[in-house]
């Protein structure tokens, strides 16, 4: 194995679409999502796994940090980014809840908040206070809008359409 590790083709499913991407070992999953897949909703904040704005969901709907995971680790996997939540132009219930409860201020952390909140309510329509804190502690809002975010998560059920699972 030579130093300098060449690029390699990886397969990645993003929001249900399959991509075949030429990736360098030097890239994180976040780099690939933004620069190659071209979905710039997912943000780079601290780039060290502290702030959570790069949060995406894996195929089990769990929150993960795309900035501290090597892209090639994800070869063959499926992920959801903030762009993948809407269907037919309509926002997901959690997005609608966050919007309606004024949980968006400057908006930079919002993609991370949305994906973390999505993971909290995934299969759990009525998360407890503890579950909300547990799922949201890893994403930081510098506008300190955490209270409204928690309110929105508590009320997500009100925004579900009959067709939602």
């Amino acid at each position: 194995m030579s130093r300098g590790g060449g690029k390699r083709v990886m397969n990645l499913t993003v929001n249900g679409d399959d991509y075949e991407i030429l990736v360098s070992p030097r890239q994180t999953l976040l780099d690939v999502i933004r620069d190659q897949v071209g979905l710039t909703g997912t943000k780079e904040g601290c780039a060290t796994g502290t702030c959570g704005v790069c949060t995406i969901n894996n195929s089990n709907g769990e929150s993960l940090l795309s900035c501290i995971t090597p892209a090639l680790e994800w070869d063959g996997q499926s992920i959801t980014t903030v762009e993948g939540l809407e269907s037919n132009g309509e926002l997901d219930a959690i997005q609608q809840a966050l919007l309606s409860y004024g949980a968006v201020q400057c908006g930079f952390c919002t993609p991370g908040v949305v994906m973390s909140a999505k993971a909290v309510v995934n299969g759990n329509p009525a998360p407890t206070e503890e579950e909300i804190n547990d799922g949201m502690a890893g994403v930081l809002c510098r506008c300190t809008g955490h209270i409204k975010v928690k309110e929105a998560i508590r009320h997500v059920e009100e925004f579900k359409r009959p067709t939602d699972s």
Binding site: M1, R3, G49, G138
Partner: protein, 327 residues
Amino acid sequence: MLLPVHEFVKPASLAEGLDALNSASGEVKLIGGGTDVVFNMRGRLFQPDILLSVKDFPELQLVEELQDGAVRMGAGCRLTDLERHPLVARFPGLVAGFRAVASRHIRNMATLGGNLCLDTRCWYTNQSAEWRDAKGPCLKTGVNVCFAIKTSETCVALNASDTAPALIAMDAVVTLASADGERAVPLAEFYTDDGIAHTVRRPNEIMTAVTVPPSSAPMVYIKETARKGNDFAYGTIGARGPAEDTGHAGQTRLVLGSLTSRPTLLEAPAKIIDEHGLTADAIDAAAAATRDELGALTNLYTPAAYKSQLARSLVRRALTNLQEQLR
């Protein structure tokens, strides 16, 4: 910023992984969830030639009960899966130790083996490359200087594993696999006093499992941080009390973490509790006997005087909690 130049290798099994480890030329860094490794690569503290991904080896995923009632956890298990596993639920102190690690996001990625092998941390090295360039190199980055303790000949960076104190308090044993076979090392003997070569894992070994023997004794885990949630610890303690029925001399374990380069298994304080039980006087005596076992303390992240006081306080709080559990 791109990660440093390296080769990324992801073998399909433990056997292939050990082969890759043996045939590799250059420095190899094992990567589990990557939450610490990639972080350190971003800071250019780690610049391995090869990253070898071990977290998806099927051999490292299993959680099972052994014949003697011990619970064996694969080193590749994610912390999220472990804290919710019914077999792990038998050890409330362990669940607390797993839950103490960072945030849900991190625990959805981080592995048990990764947390146990977590690199030590220092205020002077865990900075950006530019910051370190301005300060100049130290023991960990290539010269014979320590900024934390000027006279120290070894690196005194702090152990940062939240799970280690909880597991050591439960007499956990780690399994290390190499091409030559497996060896078992009690976790209490896994760490060294050196902040650089901080574990006894050899370069050709991969941690495969952690085994916790059965225990009915009460246990407790406490993590002290600046703020709740996503943070490294100022100090942690994993503790196991004497079982309710007497005649279990030698059962008490008190393990302090994050205060020095290795988790510290306290001997004298545990002996006091084994001999006198969880009485108020014994708890006082155990707390008072704590500081002597920690050796030199640094001013890394918190002042040394604070660390002394925190150590005594953690011992007292843990023992008081155990006393309440037995009441």
